[in-house]
């Protein structure tokens, strides 16, 4: 591994339509239609157009404007996508910014996740900070230290766990709302939610467990279990609550 780093890396540029083998590169730039066969390790990857990777990608900096399909895993520093990205394997990043869509078949780990588009994964999603002003569907556990969600459309997660959980409906006054109009009936559905401080709006959950729990308007909760504090605003349905 260490020896590889000493080998000087070349650049890869595809303009037009072409297919190449994977390997070590400094910068990879795809404008048009590209295909990469095999695992690729690079410092910078930029895709404006279509890219299909039959392998995994490891890159410090990735930016995707068009369509990118990675059959293997994705690993690296920052990833910004305003296009469409599909990942077959595990995604492990420092920073993930999604303005387009990301569709993953496996877990997503990133220190930060900033979602303004759509995120779909069949696995778990773990982040220290997860902010969402978009749509997500998480097949497994959404685990975040700080979770800030503004609901624009229906969102779904099997389970949610973390420290601070804030779920609010999106404000119609936000400048973003002009382009991306929030649906007033947007709901978050989750089976179990657990956290220290929980504030919910427009959420449908079977069980909510936490230290301090505030259930705001538009919620339908089966059972709330709390330790210190529980508050139910009007217009919220909580079938049962229990202090433990």
């Amino acid at each position: 591994m260490n020896q590889n780093k000493k080998i000087s890396r070349g650049n890869l540029t595809i303009t037009g339509s072409s297919s190449v083998m994977g390997g070590l590169y400094d910068s990879v730039k795809i404008v048009g239609e590209g295909g990469i066969e095999g695992d690729t390790d690079c410092n910078k990857l930029k895709c404006v157009g279509t890219l299909e990777v039959n392998g995994s990608i490891s890159a410090d900096k990735m930016s995707i404007v068009g369509t990118c399909d990675v059959k293997g895993g994705l690993q690296g520093g920052t990833l910004k996508t305003s296009g469409t990205l599909t990942v077959g394997g595990i995604t492990r990043l420092r920073e993930l910014g999604i303005s387009g869509t990301i569709d993953s078949k496996d877990h997503i780990y990133s220190e930060r996740v900033h979602l303004r588009g759509s995120l779909q994964t069949l696995g778990d999603c773990e982040a220290e900070a997860f902010t969402a002003k978009g749509i997500f569907e998480i097949g497994g556990l959404l685990n975040a230290g700080k979770l800030d969600i503004k609901l624009y459309r229906d969102c779904k997660a099997h389970e949610i766990g973390g420290g601070q959980i804030n779920i609010k409906k999106a404000s119609l006054l936000h400048p973003l709302s002009l382009f991306f109009k929030p649906s007033s009936s947007a709901r978050l559905s989750v089976s179990v939610m657990e956290g220290d401080h929980i504030y919910l709006e427009n959420t449908i959950a079977d069980i909510v467990r936490g230290n301090k729990v505030v259930i705001g308007l538009g919620c339908e909760i089966g059972l709330v279990e709390y330790k210190e504090h529980f508050e139910q605003r009007k217009d919220a349905v909580v079938r049962d609550n229990r202090k433990v």
Binding site: E126, A127, E128, N143, A144, G145, G161, G162, G163, Q164, S191, V192, E194, G195, D196, D206, I207, R209, G210, N211, G222, L223, E225, V244
Partner: protein, 209 residues
């Protein structure tokens, strides 16, 4: 091997930690995914943990988190080998392994000055096995090549090392952690070594300089 389980709710109550901490430790890989056992209960789905293991682990985290960062702790608990090499002399001087074990291992590992983490682990386990008094030095000699040859194949998965004996013939085997095994009659499990626990102990000892 039916382990006693503890529900998440009971665990939090018993240890006094919060959901946030539990989830943070999971994110930092201080608590392995395999320990999260999902079962359906009458209140819906609940998560259970192997009681002894999780209590031990949480106790360690709580006591050590003031001195070490969470990342350092994760490194200690991870079954991954550390990228280090240590002079054998130092291991003996610091009482991490006995001279006896080191001498036995030398014949197989060679008299190299520096031992890799995996080799050190092997000697450490040998030492542990000898200390229990359950295995003979002769058996220890088969342990070393077995371990060195096959441990790599588990990659970063957890595994157990087992010693069987039947009619005085001993057999070593490595198998995935916690796996169930059944034998013909007359076979006795002499020793079952939980390799991840050994790694943890060894890393702890190596760190304390």
């Amino acid at each position: 091997m039916e382990e006693e389980l503890i529900s998440k709710k009971d665990l939090l109550e018993l240890t006094g930690i919060s959901y946030g901490q539990l989830y943070r430790w999971k994110r930092k890989n201080l608590l392995p995914e395999e320990w999260f056992i999902r079962k359906s209960a009458f209140t819906g789905q609940e998560t259970f943990f192997p009681k002894q293991k999780i209590l031990d682990r949480i106790d360690k985290i709580v006591h050590m988190k003031d001195d070490l960062s969470l990342d350092e702790l994760a490194d200690m608990f991870s079954p991954a080998s550390k990228a280090i090499s240590i002079p054998m002399k130092q291991l003996i001087e610091r009482n991490i392994v006995s001279t006896n074990a080191a001498k036995t291992a030398e014949a197989y590992i060679g008299q190299s000055e520096l031992y890799t983490f995996e080799q050190t682990l092997c000697v450490y386990i040998l030492d542990y096995c000898l200390q229990t008094g359950e295995i003979s030095l002769e058996e220890g000699k088969t342990l070393i090549p077995t371990f060195l040859e096959h441990y790599k194949k588990f990659k970063e998965q957890q595994c157990d090392l087992i010693l069987l004996r039947k009619m005085g013939v001993s057999v070593f085997l490595l198998l995935p952690a916690g796996g169930e095994i059944h034998f013909e009659s007359g076979v006795k499990i002499i020793l079952r070594v939980d390799v991840p626990v050994m790694i943890e102990q060894l890393k702890l000892k190596l760190m304390a300089i």
